[in-house]
Amino acid sequence: MNILWLQSAGCGGCTMSLLCAESPNLFDLFASAGLEFLWHPSLSEASGAEVCRLLEAVESGAQKLDILCVEGSIVHGPKNTGRYHMLAGTGRSMLDWVQSLAPKAEHVIAVGTCATYGGVTSAGDNPADATGLQYDGRHAGAALPASFRARSGLPVINISGCPIHPDWVAETLLLLSQGELGADDLDIYARPRFYTDTLVHHACPKNEFYEYKASAEELSQIGCMMEHLGCIGTQAVGDCNIRLWNGEGSCTRAGYPCINCTAPEFEEPGHGFTQTPKFAGIPVGLPTDMPKAWFMALASLSKRATPARVAKNATSDRIIVPPSVKSRKHD
């Protein structure tokens, strides 16, 4: 299957992250799956006029297109002209190109939270009037209408994440190439469920601290970051702590909170990214699928039951007290 990749109003970080794919490297992975780039702005040889001719051929139907990947949000400004991003050399806005090319593709994929929902480019007062491809934040209908379907019959497949994990994109493409990704495999925001059926909280190494609500008070302390430091890993979809990043990393493993970057509108949490908003001293925004009263009851109970080891470590920058290991029984 061929892939046309366009970079719209984003940072290019999703391509950079994708290049971190390993075992095998991205190039070998694509070759083995019969995936090839028709054009990719960071990787292909063709530049300038050659690219313009290719885009025209796809638009006219002379060049068949299997997969259109769009990275970066789509800007509509100024004044709904889309001219804040004119695709170089073409005299046309990226908005115009995307609307024209998407119906030609068998599959359309939005790569990263900018392309899916608007992302950081749409933060603040959204100066460039940025949206995702098919969603404007949580609302369906953006650069492409809510009713849009690619030739395959699927809506835009939203691989959100800021940035995406390389495997999320690679595995989506592999599944598509084998005809193994259908409408039921997407969640309510059209994200592939293979990485959104789990929470960032799952396999977070701070789970024991979470169990006792043994909390870090400042960044660099190793306790749970939910109570004070804005972590929403218990609500954020993603398998970040299960499959890990760049070897053995994840946000929470490196000591900073999950900011829910796979979610629409994560860029405007309504409070500082590393602060937990509270009401009467109690964090707002508790785990979504747990009754609040039960959460409060369990939290107050577990807080009182916190082992000294867990409490002490929670406010340290490294493990001070190791787990007690049962000594051998005396003979």
Binding site: L19, F27, L43, E45, L219, S250, G255
Partner: protein, 477 residues
């Protein structure tokens, strides 16, 4: 002289972000060039009204290729605002993260962005063509794959210390959020050792020290190993030492601050003469930019896009000038201003070759410095100092991204950001014409580039543009 014809070149790929260049061509040469950054996002406006700490989450997302540089500049600006310095060991870890990113960017540039142009059919009659095709064909060349794998493994250091790349939140004004252990340190040491083997086996074909010890351009002709030798032979054949000559004015904000000063010195180099850099002499000029307002120092500057995109402007990029003069920034500038003798000579040459070799020189020097830095980290010490920001004040963060000088200027009122101005490396290098009609560094370097008959996207122009390693998403932000 024949009349000039106009070429519009774009989309310009294998640069980070979108770029369009208008060329006036006469007698087979570029007579004038106009660089347009065609994308406006408005990060400086997005930051207004946010809590200052949110800059650490938002600014890295300006750029996915120099994300850590943006983090560093923001952390420095916030530390300056609070008048504190980070915990010393935390500063070292932050610096190591920054070096890994810069090194990784240099590697990517050489292998994935710059070299693939020599595998184009237009060069099929050259003696080195077959090797260029095997090693550097876009998406397929053996060198590209190996470089990508080496970079991926090097990035494990960022995974371990920073959680992920790009867009880590580990770097803070007071240090870093993760305290590495002795075990982490040996693991990182192993990653660095593997990267050194790769560089010595593949890129340089010799011990790094042998390259770093070179002092004169003439010695390059004796370099016979690694992909570096392939590049040098291509460069000799295509005279890349006389192509894309810049204006000979360089600046560096100084890279990797240590208590004793930056590892690579801060300063300027004008026509071979070294001087001090005073950031107060920076002015962003906007007559050729689709921007409203007035020319200003970034601490007083503002970003108001001209929604009508007036006819006499041609880019969203502002034109930063130091003392009224455009300056080139990047690895070549950094190494020359630091006084490395080979780099000083190359800066005088100011060519496509000089920029590429300057970058490789820095790649080699940085590997040696990363090893030294890692060895100096004391894992028993704290890595973070808690920082309380004032409700009012201003700060500046000046760092060196892979592509050159990056500055953040923040102003805080009532505990919220009232102004945030950013000047990125490519804002300097790819700036449009200024108040006096003086072209930016790239625009000047393109004058005289050869255009073959029938070429609509001249390959010599592509070499020159890519020799700067532009990052267009940073440029306008």
């Amino acid at each position: 002289m024949t009349d000039a014809t106009t070429l519009l070149v774009g989309p310009f790929n294998r640069v980070e972000g979108d770029l369009e260049i208008r060329l006036e061509v006469a007698d087979g040469r570029v007579r004038a060039a106009y660089a347009n950054s065609p994308l406006f996002r408005g990060f400086e406006m997005i930051l207004q009204g946010k809590g200052p700490m949110d800059a650490l989450t938002i600014t890295p997302r300006i750029c996915g290729i120099c994300s850590i540089s943006q983090s560093m500049a923001a952390a420095h600006a916030l530390a300056d605002l609070a008048q504190v310095s980070p915990a010393p060991e935390g500063a070292k870890v932050a610096q190591l993260l920054h070096m890994v990113e810069n090194v990784s960017d240099h590697l990517m540039h050489f292998n994935l962005f710059f070299m693939p142009d020599f595998a184009r059919p237009i060069y099929s009659d050259r003696p080195w063509f077959d090797r260029a095709v095997t090693r550097f064909t876009a998406l397929k060349g053996s060198a590209l794959k190996r470089a990508t794998e080496a970079r991926t493994q090097l990035m494990h250091i960022v995974g371990l210390l920073g959680g992920k790349w790009p867009h880590t939140l580990a770097i803070q004004p007071g240090g870093v959020t993760y305290a590495p252990t002795a075990r982490d340190k040996v693991r990182i040491g192993a990653d660095l050792a593997a990267f050194r083997s790769y560089l010595e086996e593949v890129v340089f074909g010799a011990p790094l020290e042998a390259f770093v010890d070179l002092t004169q351009i003439e010695q390059l002709s004796g370099w016979s190993s690694g992909d570096l030798a392939l590049f040098l032979s291509i460069s000799d054949d295509l005279s890349l030492d006389t192509s894309g000559i810049g204006a000979g004015k360089y600046l560096s904000f100084g890279a990797y601050p240590l208590p004793s000063g930056p590892l690579f010195q801060r300063g300027i180099l004008c026509d071979g003469v070294a001087g001090l850099l005073d950031q107060r002499d920076i002015v962003e000029e906007i007559p050729s930019s689709w921007m409203l307002g007035a020319d200003a120092h970034p601490s007083q500057g503002m970003t108001m896009p001209d929604e009508d995109m007036r006819e006499d402007a041609y880019s969203w990029c502002k034109a930063p000038r130091l003392g009224g003069v455009p300056h080139e920034t990047g690895a070549l500038a950094r190494q020359a201003i630091d006084g490395h003798p080979l780099a000083v000579a190359l800066a005088r040459e100011g060519s496509v070759r000089a920029r590429v070799v300057g970058r490789l020189l820095e790649l080699a020097r940085s590997q040696i410095e990363m090893e030294r830095l890692l060895a100096s980290i004391n894992v028993r010490e704290p890595f973070m100092r808690q920082v309380k920001l004032p409700k009012e004040g201003a700060g500046v963060g000046m760092v060196e991204a892979a592509r050159g000088a990056l500055g953040h200027w923040i102003k805080v009122e009532n505990g919220l950001i009232s102004s945030y101005q950013i000047i990125a490396p490519t804002t300097w290098n790819f700036s449009p014409r200024d108040r006096h009609g003086v072209p930016g560094p790239l625009e000047a370097a393109l004058v005289g580039a050869s255009v073959r008959a029938g070429e609509d996207t001249p390959v010599s122009v592509q070499h020159i543009v890519r020799s700067f390693d532009p990052c267009m998403v940073c440029t306008v932000h």
